[in-house]
């Protein structure tokens, strides 16, 4: 097991190094010289000279890459052109908001998706199955930002049930020791702040969770309907086991393996979707900041954020692979 983890972590190194090379040259292929594209419209001859010296753009390209990668290894990811903040600092600052959003969205998708998919798989051909399958198809093809807008309009603006912007109402909780607003309320004993933060997450999480929900429903349904016909299920029934036990231990557990893989694969979708969802709901997370960086051509931020996202994405995929062992003893043995 440990060897597997070490091997996988080692494999991540060339990928991330390769990515850093790509991202390095990415700024180089931009039209115009790099200093000008870094400075954007505010480029003055003096500013360009300053940037050239600071980033060493006048040096040979391989040396520039060494300087760049050396800085990366020291944890220096550069500074935002727009706000002058440290890229790493901003990322860590915005990360809790995005983690909160993606976790709540994924929990929503899993808690609703597995039961729905299970029901549909056990009752194939029924009207509810047809409804669930059609609903999941519509869920897959509807753009995240469109769902977000519809929810915002209907439940936020028309009905006024839920907040539509930001992470908390004004001054609900002035203390944010962790940056996770839901947790902060619990830590500081301010339960109304936790409730407030959760209310702010409802609409964005539903919007972001729609596509993962639809995919989880479909995979669970397909998987359950396959497992139901397995010999061991028939054996369990023949032995006279209680239906509840068969459903839990024989059907659900075996059907869950492809579902876990799928849940892991949703992470990329969630991170991409977060950019769109956070933009609609002004959530001030990584996605929202990335969007502003795109609009302002803030390349150091784009470079750094993409590298961090790739790192998180690879790490979570590793965790997903490891979790198979918890569900499937065959994987554990090999």
């Amino acid at each position: 097991m440990l060897r597997f983890v070490v091997r996988r972590l080692a494999l991540m190194v060339p990928t991330l190094v390769g990515l850093s090379v790509l991202l390095f040259f990415w700024v180089r292929i931009l039209p115009g010289d790099p200093a000008r594209s870094l400075l954007g419209q505010r480029a003055t001859p003096a500013g360009i000279a300053q940037v050239n010296e600071r980033y060493g753009f006048d040096q040979p390209i391989w040396r520039q890459y060494l300087t760049y990668s050396g800085a990366l290894l020291r944890g220096d990811f550069g500074f935002s052109i727009r706000t002058k903040e440290s890229v790493l600092g901003v990322f860590l600052d915005k990360l809790p908001a995005t983690i909160e959003l993606t976790v709540v969205a994924l929990v929503f998708a899993i808690l609703l998706g597995i039961p729905l998919g299970y029901y549909a798989g056990r009752h194939q051909g029924g009207w509810l199955d047809t409804a669930i399958v059609s609903g999941s198809l519509i869920g897959v093809v509807t753009p995240v930002f469109f769902v977000a807008l519809l929810l915002k309009y209907q439940f936020g603006i028309q009905l006024g049930w839920l907040p539509t912007a930001g992470r908390e109402s004004n001054r609900t909780n002035p203390d944010h020791p962790t940056g996770f607003y839901v947790l902060d309320g619990l830590i500081t004993g301010n339960l109304s702040a936790t409730w407030d933060a959760l209310l702010h997450l409802v609409l964005p999480a539903i919007a972001l969770g729609t596509i993962p929900l639809a995919i989880i429903v479909r995979i669970t349904r397909a998987s359950v309907s396959e497992v139901v016909h397995e010999d061991y299920v028939r054996t369990a029934e023949a032995k006279g086991l209680l239906p509840g036990l068969i459903n839990r231990r024989h059907i659900l557990r075996n059907a869950l393996l492809p579902v876990v893989t799928t849940i892991g694969l949703q992470l990329g979708l969630l991170l991409s979707g977060a950019v769109l969802t956070e933009t609609v709901f002004a959530l001030n997370g990584i996605g929202d900041y990335l969007y502003q960086a795109i609009s302002n051509r803030d390349y150091p931020v784009l470079q750094g954020f993409i590298l961090f996202i790739a790192l998180i994405y690879s790490l979570v995929n590793l965790v997903v692979d490891l979790s198979y062992g918890l569900i499937d003893p065959r994987v554990r043995a090999s």
Binding site: T142, F145, F146, L149, Y153, G268, L276, A310
Partner: protein
């Protein structure tokens, strides 16, 4: 084949002795199954309607595209809804909504098809070379694909589009390149599994050149899954075009109608005219649904397990 009174299910059961005769090719069988699948028929109908509208947009649209001559009918306080002159009302900028939606179909189709073609061509080249040559070339190419896969595909598209600037061509390249890893993996995987099959062994034993084996045996047999993937990717591409436009990365030319951007502009009048954003959103979803249904029906039809 001509038993009109039979339902698809009973056909499948009754004709069992005749089904999948040894002489029936995979393609013919797949097409036969496809014609019976309601999913495929609905999907194909949506796709056909979409392509028809996109191709004949100038003939179908009631007005000239981007003629913003009804600006007085779209103000922050009032937006003209459906009338006999404007079946879907007026859009945010004072153009006829229906006309804009029809020309938006054109934009979606062109960007969707071109980007998927870019992804398919590059991905197929990488996958075929990696799977066909093997060895160091395979390792290097697949490491490169891994790097691209380490970024979620929409984020990859966003960063490429952000670097290339605001234009339709940038969108095509960005969405296309983001699809490369999928096709590369798919083709390499199927090349590898094919190269262990009996007919490739036979071709090798006959002393055929490696290139002949790859080009005329392995590649054609990998075609099915590739076509399925391309159809499904068209759905994703159309959604991604809208998403990138939504983020302000699409074409900067205001005369070009694009569904994603229509949603953005509709947002400004959401309180008084939610349909401004609703219509283009529904267009995106329905078009993506068409390609998804068709792609999945094709996948089922081409699945050898379905052959009976």
């Amino acid at each position: 084949m001509t038993v009109p009174t039979d339902t698809p299910e009973s056909l499948g059961q009754e004709r069992e002795p005749g089904e999948g005769q040894p002489g029936e090719s995979l393609w013919r069988g797949a097409f036969r199954r496809l014609r019976r699948s309601p999913m495929a028929i609905i999907g194909a109908a949506i796709v056909a309607a979409f392509v028809f509208v996109a191709v004949f947009a100038p003939l179908l649209a009631p007005y000239e595209p981007a003629s913003t001559q009804w600006t007085e009918l779209s103000t922050p306080f009032f937006v003209q809804g459906p009338t006999s002159d404007h079946l879907l009302g007026i859009d945010r900028w004072g153009s006829d909504m229906l006309t804009q939606l029809i020309f938006g179909a054109r934009q979606s189709l062109v960007i969707g098809v071109v980007s998927t073609f870019i992804g398919l061509a590059l991905g197929a080249a990488v996958g075929t070379i990696a799977g066909g040559v093997g060895g160091v070339v395979d390792t290097v190419l697949m490491r490169f694909v891994d790097i691209l896969l380490s970024i979620p595909s929409l984020l990859l598209a966003i960063s490429i589009a952000a670097a290339l600037g605001k234009s339709s061509i940038a969108l095509m390249i960005a969405i296309g390149v983001a699809q490369v890893p999928i096709f590369a993996r798919l083709l390499r995987g199927s090349m590898l599994s094919q190269s262990r099959s009996d007919y490739v062994l036979a071709a090798n034993a006959l002393g055929l050149r490696r290139r002949t084996v790859v080009m005329s045996h392995v590649l054609p047999n990998s075609l099915g899954p590739t076509i399925v993937q391309a159809t499904l990717n068209l759905a994703t591409a159309i959604i991604e075009v809208a998403a990138l436009s939504f983020l302000g990365l699409g074409t900067a030319d205001p005369a070009v109608a694009e569904w994603g951007r229509m949603i953005v502009s509709g947002q400004a009048r959401f309180q008084i005219a939610p349909w401004l954003a609703f219509y283009p959103g529904v267009c995106i979803a329905v078009t993506a649904l068409g390609f998804t249904l068709l792609g999945e029906a094709m996948r089922e039809a081409l699945d050898p397990k379905q052959r009976r």
